[in-house]
């Protein structure tokens, strides 16, 4: 069974996300609906036996590279999340097929936003390389 990483980004995908206000400015009932949906996604994946991992990342980002011999690492705080392609979190799923991974990603993208309508958030679907011999 192939594993897929379903990545959520802060700012968008092939095109920017729909311009919704940040969640703390939604109506309280819309916040509840959104969080209940996320909760149900994890439960659904677990119940299906497809869940491997799910994590959220804080929006703070630091770029780091080797500074050279006897030099401190070079670090820079990344650009603001709004202007940068920043990973917000992921689900890792273990599924039957690529098609199933796409189906799940589309379902995750239907998460309710302000007013209850879908957020249409782009999900980045990446297959995890496996250590198993490929079947040819």
């Amino acid at each position: 069974m192939p594993k897929y990483l379903l990545l959520k980004h802060y700012s968008g995908g092939p095109e920017p996300h729909h311009p919704f206000p940040p969640m703390d400015q939604w109506a309280p009932e819309d916040v509840e609906a959104h969080m209940a949906f996320l909760h149900s996604v994890a439960e659904l994946l677990q119940a299906n036996g497809e869940y491997v991992d799910g994590q959220a990342l804080t929006p703070a980002q630091t770029w780091v590279r080797y500074g050279g011999p006897d030099a401190a690492p070079v670090t820079t705080d990344g650009p603001l999340p709004e202007t940068n392609d920043l990973v917000a979190g992921w689900y890792m799923v273990d599924v039957e097929s690529y098609e199933r991974a796409v189906e799940l990603a589309a379902y995750i993208s239907s998460e309710p936003g302000p007013g209850g309508g879908p957020l249409y958030e782009w999900i980045d679907v990446r297959e995890v390389m496996s250590g198993a011999p490929s079947d040819d």
Binding site: D24, Q25, A27, P28, D30, A36, T58, A60
Partner: protein, 400 residues
């Protein structure tokens, strides 16, 4: 065929023996590292053998089997390194330190050369008797990572003379770290920390050890009310107090009183006293804030420079000031902390609470939103977003 309940019983009894047997081996002069490995093997052997052939004296059985493993290990080691010169061939003389084995072992595990994460892992394994797998699960890291962390910690201790009494303050801090590490994993670390703290109070008269146990009990008593059925955080002022564990509160208060009677106050005793006052209130409105503020004054007075050395105490005191004097006064108290913890989510969350107390809902919403942005715990982040949305909606309603 062993049923699950017998197996669990055996494991519980086994775990209680771990620190005593291990301390015996280490006191005799065995290396901590080797002794711990040998005892783990003996424990596995016990789980296999005991159900069919229960020993007459389980502790002696474990000590004997572990000793046999140590001898075996030394023989094969000797065979491998026959040509190497052994500089430390003689085992260290047995330590003469008197006192309880648990305390002795906790001091070993909390050796100042170990990083806090290693101290915690080692204490859970050597004193708590948890398996590497269980500790790994509790901290959500792969088992191999935790195994490596533990074996590195043990290597650090190798060859050290573990006969000097360590710093009790470090031991207390490690236990508190275990307690706060969470209740979510398969292993209830909070319960484990309470068990260890209880053992510790039997081994030392130090009132801070009892203060720590009381603090844990008085906080743990509220756990059943701290999350709703959906896993959402419920803040103290909204908790259903019927769900609090009255028995645990009563024990916490008893332990705290016996500590305070010694009249050597310390931070854990003071924090426990504050927790007890919260536990004592029949409703949020009946909370005795003036007395809580008085205890916070004591807590802050324990540091020379509380803003830098103990900002959490100053922040807690600011909340009490907000309830006793008024929201604006509480906010002024938090201003002193801006430079030190102004980038931490808790600072913003407290300011949100104080703004709300002063009916400035828009400022509260902004502070909660900033706190959510800085939070590193998912449940807390979600809670803060809800608080922000709720305060904002209420602010819009009241200004409309």
């Amino acid at each position: 065929m062993i049923d699950e309940s017998t197996r669990r019983l055996d494991e519980g009894a086994l775990r209680a023996l771990v620190p005593r047997v291990l301390a015996g081996l280490v006191r005799r002069g065995e290396d901590f590292d080797a002794a711990e490995d040998a005892l783990q093997e003996a424990l596995l052997e016990a789980l296999r053998v005991w159900p069919e052939h229960p020993p007459r004296d389980p502790r002696a059985w474990l000590a004997t089997v572990a000793t046999r493993r140590l001898v075996d290990a030394r023989r094969s080691e000797a065979a491998r390194h026959r040509r190497e010169e052994e500089t430390q061939a003689e085992p260290l003389p047995a330590a003469t330190e008197e006192g309880d084995d648990t305390l002795f072992l906790l001091f070993c595990c909390c050796h100042p050369e170990l990083a806090p994460a290693s101290q915690v892992a080692l204490a859970l394994r050597a004193v708590g008797g948890l398996t590497t797998r269980e500790i790994a699960d509790a901290f959500y890291v792969p088992e191999a990572t935790m195994a490596q962390r533990i074996s590195r910690a043990k290597r650090t201790l190798r060859g050290r003379r573990l006969d000097q009494p360590g710093d009790l303050a470090v031991v207390l801090r490690v236990l508190y770290l275990v307690y706060t590490a969470g209740h979510a994993g398969r292993v209830d670390l909070a319960r484990e920390a309470i068990r260890l703290a209880r053992q510790l109070t039997l081994a030392t008269e130090e009132p801070e050890a009892r203060g720590l146990l009381a603090l844990m009990l008085l906080n743990h008593a509220r756990l059943p009310a701290r999350f709703d059925s959906e896993g959402r955080i419920v803040t103290l002022d909204r908790q259903n107090r019927q769900l609090w564990d009255r028995r645990e509160i009563a024990e916490g208060v008893r332990v705290l009183q016996s500590a305070l009677a010694v009249e050597r106050p310390g931070r854990y005793q003071v924090e426990a006293a504050i927790a007890a006052l919260h536990d004592d209130a029949a409703s949020a409105e009946e909370t005795d804030w003036p007395q809580i503020l008085a205890w916070y004054d004591d807590l802050v007075a324990l540091s020379d420079d509380p803003v830098r050395q103990d900002p959490a105490a100053v922040l807690g005191r600011a909340v009490a000031v907000g309830h006793v004097v008024g929201a604006a006064a509480g906010l002024r108290e938090t201003d002193r902390l801006r430079e030190v913890i102004g980038e931490r989510h808790r600072w913003h969350a407290v300011r949100g609470h104080l703004h709300e107390l002063g009916d400035d809902l828009n400022a509260a919403a902004a502070a909660y939103a900033e706190a959510a942005r800085l939070a590193t715990n998912v449940a807390e982040r979600d809670h803060l977003i809800r608080q922000a949305a709720r305060a904002r909606a209420a602010g819009l309603r009241s200004s409309a």
